[in-house]
Amino acid sequence: MNRTWVTPGGVHPPENKHQSMTQQIGSLPIPDKLVIPLSQHIGAAAAACVEVGQHVLKGQLIAEAAGVVSIPMHAPTSGTISAIEHRPIAHASGMLAPCIEITSDGADSWIEHQGISDYEHTSPEKLLEIVANAGITGMGGAGFPSAVKLNPGRQRPIDTLIINATECEPYITADDSAIRERAGEIVDGIKILSAILGHPHNILIGIEDNKPEAIAALQPHVESTGISIVVFPTKYPSGGEKQLIYILTGKELPAGKLPADLGMVCINIGTTYAIKRAVIDGEPLISRVTTVTGEAVGTQRNYDVLIGTPVSHLLAHNQFDQERCSRVIMGGPMMGFSLPSAEVPVVKTTNCILAPSYAEIPEDEPAQPCIRCGMCAEACPVSLLPQQLFWYAQAQDHDRLEAHNLFDCIECGACSYVCPSNIPLVQYYRSAKGEIRQAHDEKIRSDHARERFEFHKARIEQAEQEKEAKRAARREAAQQAKSATATNGSSGGSSAADIIAAAQARAAAKQASPEDQRAKLERTIAATEQRLQLAEEKLAEAVASNSDKQSVFSAAVENTRQKLEQSKSKLAELAE
C-alpha cells in the first residue's frame, strides 16, 4: 500500500456525480457544422493549412503546429471546409477567435491511418513525434501540449509518473466513466508513457475513494505491471497537479518550478487514453469524453463528443430546458465559467457541460462586507491568506499582493465556496493578477521606450558634433588658405587677379566636350530668349502705362539682347 499525505485546507461540496453515471458513454449524431478553434491550448495558435472549399477526411490535418509549444488540429469528421474566420469561442471574454468550420458530409470517412503495435521497441523520440502530430494536449483542463510535457530534457530525468484520475470537481464524471469502460486501453496508454519517459521507477495512478467501480475496473489490468493504484480520501481540490503530487509523494512543488524539476510528470487519465489511440491505433485527437449534466437537461450522461461540436448540439440532443436553466457552464461548478452563448464549440479541454437548474446553482447573491471570519484561510489548499489577498486586491496594492504570493493561487474557488458573505474572491484574484501582469508589461515597454529615446538623443548629439567638426575643419581650411595667399601675393589687387586667373585656368582645363558645350549654349540661348521676351513684354506694359520705369526696362531689354547675341556668336564659333 502506498502512503498518502493530506493537503491543507480543501472543502467537501456535494458530489452530484451519480446523476450522470446511470448509462454507458454515449455517442451523438454528427452535427451539420463543426467549428474547430485554432487555439485550444497553452502556446501559439495552430496555423490553418487548408483552404475554404477543400474536402477533408476524418482525421486529416487541417492546421499545423506553430512553433515548439503548439499542437496541430485535425478534422473530426469528413466534410468540406466551409469557412476560416473569427467565430465565438468558449472564453470568458466573449471575444471571437480564428476557427475552421467544417460542414460534415455525413460519411464520416477516415483518412488512411496506422498505429504501432510494438511501442516497447520504438524509440521515445518517435513516440513523442506521434504524440505531437496527433495534436494531444492536456485534457484535464489546462491544455498544455503533451509532447512538450513528456520531453523534459536530459537535465531532468524522470523517476515518477503520476496518472491523474482524481476528477475532484463535483458533477464531472468524464474520467470515471472512461476508466470503467476502457481500463485496458488506458493501462496500455500508461505503458506507452512509461516507454516515452524511459521507464520511471514509480508509476502511480492517483484516484479518489469515491470511484470504487473505476478502481475495480483498473485492478486486473495493472496486476504485475509495476503500476500502483493509490486511493486517497475525496476532497476538493485534490486533482490539481501540485496537490496530487503532494498527496502521492509528500513533496511540495516550489513556486515557479515544474514537476519535471522534481523528477515527476503528471498526466491526466483522459490524455493517457488519447495517447494510446494515437500510438497504437494511429488516430489523432478528434474526440473526447464530455459529461453533460445538470437538472436543466433531460438526460444526464457522458458522451464521446467530436471536437468542434457546438454546445447547442449537445444540449439539444439532451432535452435542454432553457427556462429551467440558470446558466450554461463549461467545466464544473467550482472552476468552470458561464458560456456567453451556446453557439460555442467543444474543445480538447472541455470535460463537462453543466446546465444547472435554479435550485442547483441559484443566481449570484449580492456580496456582503467581509466579516474577517478567516474561513477562507482554512479552506485554501495552497495555505495562502485569501482574506489579506482580498483586502489588498480591493486596495490595488500590487506590492503587498505579490508579497502574499498571489500568483501561487490556483483559482480553485474553495475560498469563495466557504465565504459566508458570498464574496466572489476568485474574481478579485483573477482581476488583480491581470492588473499586475499588465503593469509588468507596461514597465517593460516603458523601459524599452526609454532606451530608444536615449539612443535617439545620442544619435542627434553625434550628428551635431559631426556637423560642428566639419564646420570647424572648413573654417580651418579657409583660414589656412587666406594666410597662404597673404604670404604668397605681393599686393592685394594683383593677388586677386592671380586667383581669378588661376580659377579661369582651371575652368578652361575642365572644359567639356564640344557636344556638351553646344548643348549648354543652346540651353543658354533658349533661356536668354525667354528672358528677352519677358523683358520686352514688361517694357511694352511700362510704355502702355507710361510708367517711370520705362528707362530701366529698356536698359534691361538691351542687356538681354546683347547677351543673346554673345551666346549666338559663341555657338557659331563652335560650329566651325
Binding site: 462586507p369 467581509c370 486596495a395 496594492d397 503587498r400
Partner: protein, 202 residues
C-alpha cells in the same frame, strides 16, 4: 566624580529589569506618551517605520551615552547642573545631525521618505526625556546606555506594530470621517490600553 568601578558595573538582574522596564512597562510612546510626533508621522508604511525605528534607536543610544559623559565629565565637576537641558539639546542636535548625514549617504530613499522627521528627532521629547531621566535616576554609564537602548527598542517595537496595523487600516473599509489620523489615534489609544496592562510586572 564616581569611582571607576561603579561607572561600568551593572548586574544581570539590573540588566533585565532595565530592559523590560524601558521596553514594556514604561514604554516611552504608549505609557509615558513621549515621541508621539514621529510615531504618528512615519507609521504609514512598514519600510519607513523600520527605518525610523532604527534611526531613533541609534540616536537614543548614542545620546544616552554622550549625555552621560557630558553630565559626568563637564557639567557636574564644574557645577553647571542648571545648564543640563541646554547641554543635552546640544548633544542631541549633534547626534541627530550625524545620523542624518549617515542615512543620506547609505539610503537616499529612506532619507527622502523620512523627510523632515529625521531632523525632528532632535525635538523628539523621548530623546531628551531619556537623557534627563537617566540623570535624575543617578544611573551609571552602562545603565544609562542600556536605558537609552531599551527606550529605542520599545519605540521601535511600538512603531513597527503600529505601522503594520496602519497598513491594514489603509486597505480596510473605514468610515469616511474616521479615515487617516482619526482611526490611527484610536488604534494608538487601544494599543496604549494594552501596554498599560504591563503595569506592576516588575
Amino acid at each position: 566624580m564616581a569611582a571607576p568601578t561603579t561607572v561600568w558595573l551593572c548586574s544581570m538582574q539590573e540588566f533585565a529589569v532595565i530592559l523590560v522596564s524601558s521596553i514594556l512597562i514604561n514604554n516611552y510612546v504608549l505609557v509615558q506618551f513621549l515621541g508621539l510626533c514621529p510615531f504618528m508621522g512615519v507609521s504609514n508604511k512598514l519600510e519607513s517605520a523600520i527605518g525610523m525605528a532604527a534611526a531613533t534607536t541609534f540616536v537614543l543610544t548614542l545620546t544616552a551615552m554622550a549625555s552621560y559623559m557630558v553630565n559626568a565629565l563637564v557639567l557636574e565637576p564644574l557645577g553647571l547642573i542648571y545648564l543640563r537641558t541646554i547641554a543635552f539639546i546640544l548633544v542631541i542636535a549633534a547626534v541627530v545631525q550625524f545620523t542624518k548625514m549617515f542615512i543620506e549617504k547609505t539610503s537616499p530613499l529612506l532619507y527622502r521618505v523620512l523627510g523632515v522627521f529625521l531632523p525632528l528627532i532632535t525635538t523628539n521629547c523621548a530623546v531628551l526625556g531619556v537623557a534627563l531621566q537617566n540623570t535624575s535616576k543617578d544611573l551609571n554609564f552602562t545603565q544609562s546606555s542600556l536605558y537609552g537602548f531599551g527606550a529605542g527598542a520599545g519605540f521601535s517595537l511600538v512603531l513597527i506594530l503600529f505601522s503594520a496595523m496602519r497598513e491594514r487600516l489603509a486597505a480596510a473599509d473605514v468610515p469616511e470621517s474616521f479615515k487617516g489620523a482619526a482611526i490611527a489615534m484610536i488604534t494608538a489609544g487601544l494599543m496604549s490600553l494594552a501596554f498599560m496592562g504591563f503595569n506592576g510586572l516588575v
